[in-house]
């Protein structure tokens, strides 16, 4: 697996340092759309010297070279995704969890209206409540009616 990740980074034109392989490995094995903090604290166990600056630097390299996606779905923290195939995202306004959802079919007809805009990237975000948080919300609302 680490060998494959090394080759994967090289394909993308990224020098596969130990830290970069570790971050990429984390992204490809955790589907939580992690924040910088999440990545850093989890990798600190196996790489005690890992600095947060390196995680920032590495994610910038990955994103700039098309090996990861940067999501602005969460106002608090930037989130990252190692899944670069087209898909959309859902964030729960209760617990903040982020899930992949099916890609929508882009309406090329309406997009072609904007010939003066060179679109390089599309992000589709859904916001709402996951099942668990929705149930909790219903309970709370019922409490308040008493």
């Amino acid at each position: 697996m680490p060998v494959k990740i090394k080759a994967y980074l090289q394909e993308k034109g990224i020098n596969p340092s130990m830290q970069r392989v570790a971050v990429m490995h984390y992204l490809l094995n955790n589907f939580t759309h992690p924040t910088v903090d999440e990545i850093h604290s989890n990798l600190s166990d196996s790489i005690p010297t890992l600095s947060k600056t390196t995680v920032y630097n590495t994610l910038k390299v990955l994103v700039d070279n098309g090996a990861a996606l940067q999501l602005t779905i969460d106002e608090k923290n930037t989130r990252y995704d190692g899944n670069i195939t087209p898909h959309a995202h859902f964030i729960c306004l209760g617990c903040g969890c982020v899930h992949d959802v099916e890609p929508i079919k882009l309406d090329e007809v309406s997009l072609s209206m904007y010939k003066n805009l060179r679109i390089t990237e599309t992000q589709v975000y859904y916001k709402g409540f996951c099942e668990k948080c929705y149930q909790e919300k219903l309970l709370k609302e019922a409490e308040n009616k008493k």
Copy 2:
């Protein structure tokens, strides 16, 4: 016009204070998808005592009551939109300008797969280069080839 904005806020259940009317008025007359700073510095001319905290508070009230949209399209600053009709947004990676674009047609079929997610809001973001920045980019790239 200010009278209409007052009524509009009241319809949304918002107490139409002078500051709130001013912010709403700004949003409805400027299609730049402004940041807090832009709103504050522009309104400071006519309301010298306006504090930035009030702009933050007011925008929160507007968003919470459905009178404005909060956009997370720009990693640097949160942007706000007084146009609450369904539409998508484009941000230029060169100059940072944000434009409205046609709403895409949501693919209800694929969304219905996620019955366990209660979706309350959809945001569609396109990133790329506006005409001006695209031309500048082409010029720079030509320079570098020399």
